[in-house]
Assembly symmetry: C2
Homo-oligomer: 361 residues x 2
Amino acid sequence: MNKMEKGRAPGETTQRTERKGLTIHDVAREAGVSIGTVSKALNGAGSLKAETRERVVAIARKMGFRPNDLAQSLHRGQSFTVGLISNDSFGRFTMPILEGLERELAAERIAVFMSNATDDPERERQHIDQLMGKRVDGLVFTARRADRRPSLTTNIGDLPRLFVFSQNDDPDSFCLLPDDEGGARLAAEHLISLGCKRVAHVTGPEHFEAVRLRLEGYHEALAAAGLSPDPAHVLKGVWSERWGREAVDILFADGATAPDGIVCGNDQIARGVLEALRDRDIPVPGSVCVVGFDNWDVMTEAARPRLTSIDMNLYDLGREAGRRIIRMISGEKFKGVLRLPCTLVVRESCGGTPTERKGNV
Amino acid sequence: MNKMEKGRAPGETTQRTERKGLTIHDVAREAGVSIGTVSKALNGAGSLKAETRERVVAIARKMGFRPNDLAQSLHRGQSFTVGLISNDSFGRFTMPILEGLERELAAERIAVFMSNATDDPERERQHIDQLMGKRVDGLVFTARRADRRPSLTTNIGDLPRLFVFSQNDDPDSFCLLPDDEGGARLAAEHLISLGCKRVAHVTGPEHFEAVRLRLEGYHEALAAAGLSPDPAHVLKGVWSERWGREAVDILFADGATAPDGIVCGNDQIARGVLEALRDRDIPVPGSVCVVGFDNWDVMTEAARPRLTSIDMNLYDLGREAGRRIIRMISGEKFKGVLRLPCTLVVRESCGGTPTERKGNV
C-alpha cells in the first residue's frame, strides 16, 4: 500500500517558478503550438491529447516558465513576506526546512521571517498577530516532530498557510511530511537485500505517528520478502541512545533468537545499539547490520562503524513548502497530506559501499 | 587576569525593563529621595554619594522601573520589530539565543524575525535589505561560533545593531560573547579541586578565537594551582568525537606520562575521549576525570558516564542581547566586547555530586 499516493494533495501541477521574464508566447513558440494549447496544457483544462499536454508541460518546465496569473498576483501590492512559525526548540529540524523555504522564496524576492513558539499556544498567537501586523502574504508552520499539533487558535482568515514537518486534524489544512512509512520500508528492504533474515525494529514512543508509520513500513518490507517478524523483535521505547543500549540487552539475551539486522527509529537509538553491540564484541556489519533514521551527521559520523541511515530530506521538504506557499499566495488551494520520499544513505554499519537510494514512492 | 572586566562595555547601567506603568515619582517615593536624585542615580550623572546611588538603583531595579525616555522612544512610531540574522546552519547555538531574545523583547511587545544567511554575504545583504524594508528598529547578528566574522558590507546607517555569539573587527560594534577563558578556567579548577595533578587539554582548531581563549583559561588555572602543564598534554585538532578518540591514543600511549584529568574543547571531543578511555578499560572518574564544553544534552546524557560540562548560557546571552538592543533603540550607545560568565555543570564524569557553579567573572 502506498500511503503517499493515497495522501497526495489535489491540484498538483508541474510549473516551476525559477526563471523570470518568459511569457506564454515563448512557450508556444518553443513547443510549436498555439497559446491556447499552452494555456490548456498548463491549466489542465479543455480537451487535449495526453501526449501534447505532457510535451507542453515538459517544455514549459524546462524553460522555467511561470504562468502570468502567478506572476501578476505576486506583484500586486503584496508584502513579499512569509512568516515561518517554528515549534522546534532544537532547531535541528527547522533549520534545513528554513533553508529550503528561503531558497525558493528568494527567487521570488519574498523574505522569510521566522519566529519561535516553542509549543506555547499563547506565544504562537502573539507571533501570528505580529506577523499579520506586518501583512505577511502567508504563514508556514513547522515543528520538531511530524506529529499532530493543535489546530490554530487564532483566526487568520483566508491567509495562505501550510504545515511542514507538522500536522493537525483540520481537514482543510495542507501538510507536507516525510514519508515515514516508505523510509522504514527502504531501511528494512536494504537489510533484507543484504541477506538479513531476522530483522528487528527498535523505535520510539508509540504515541508518535511517525513511530506507527515506520513500524508499518518495517512490517510491509518483511511481508513482501516472505519473512514473518518475531513480535519480540519489535521494541518501543524512547528516542535516546540509552534506550538503544538497553534494547540490545533485551534482543541479545538469548543468542538463539537474536536478530541479524536492526532498523532503528532514529539515529540516537541506532548509535546506542552500535555501542552496545561493540560492548558485547558482536561484529557490525559482520554479524548484525544496523540502519538509523534522520541521517544526522553528528550521530552517523561518530558512530563506530559509521551509520547507514534514512534521510528525511528536510531541505527538499522546505523547498516544496516554498513552491506551494507561492502558489497558494497566487490563489491556488491545496489540502490534505503530501508525503515526500526519504532516501537511504549507506555507510559501514551495513557493510555496503557508501551510496544513496531514493524511496520509490 | 579577568578578561571580562577588561572587556566590559562602557555605559552599562542597571535598569530592568520588565514592569510597566511605573514613574520616576514612584521610585522617589519608595526611596525617600527627590526626583532629581533618582534621575542622577539612574543616569550615573551629577554628584551623589555612592551609597545613595547604589540604594536608589537597587530600589528602582527591584520595582522594575523603566526610565521614561526609554518608554517614550519605544512608543514613538517605531515598527516594534527586531531582525535576527543567523549564520548558524545547525541552529544549535541560535535557537537558545533566539528564545532569550524573544523573551526580553516580547515584554516590550517587540517581535523578533529571524533570517538565515548561512555564511553567504550576498544572502545576508538580501536579508538586511528585506528587514530594513520592513523598517525594523534594530538588527541582531549571530553565528554558529564565537569567531570573528567579516564586517557588514551593507550600509545600515545608524540603525541599532549588535553581535551575539558573533564578533567582528569593527571597533564601533558591540559584541556579546560567552567568557570562553573563564569557562575553561572553571573546568580546569574543578579538576584540580578534585585532586587531579596532570590535567590535559584536548581542543579544536587554533584558528578559532574560542580555542585560544580556552587554552589561556586552562593555563591560568594550572598556574594558579602551582602546576606546570606538560606541553604534550595540550592537543589541538578538530571539533569531533573521532579526534577525541585519537587524542586518547596519543595521551595514553605512555602510561607514565598519562593525564589524570582532561579539559575538552567541546562536548563532542569529550564524548570521544570517554569512549576511548572505556575501550582501554581506564575507569572514569576513578583514574581520569573529564570535562566537556557546551553542555549539549545530546552529548552529556548519552556519554558513559554522563559528562560534566561548561554551559555557555546562550539563553542568557540572548536575553542580554534583548535588553541591550532595547536600550540601543532608545538611544543608548554601546561598543566593545562584553563577555558573560559560563557555568560548570557537574555530572558523573568527574565523580562529583551533580550541581552547578557559576563563573566568578
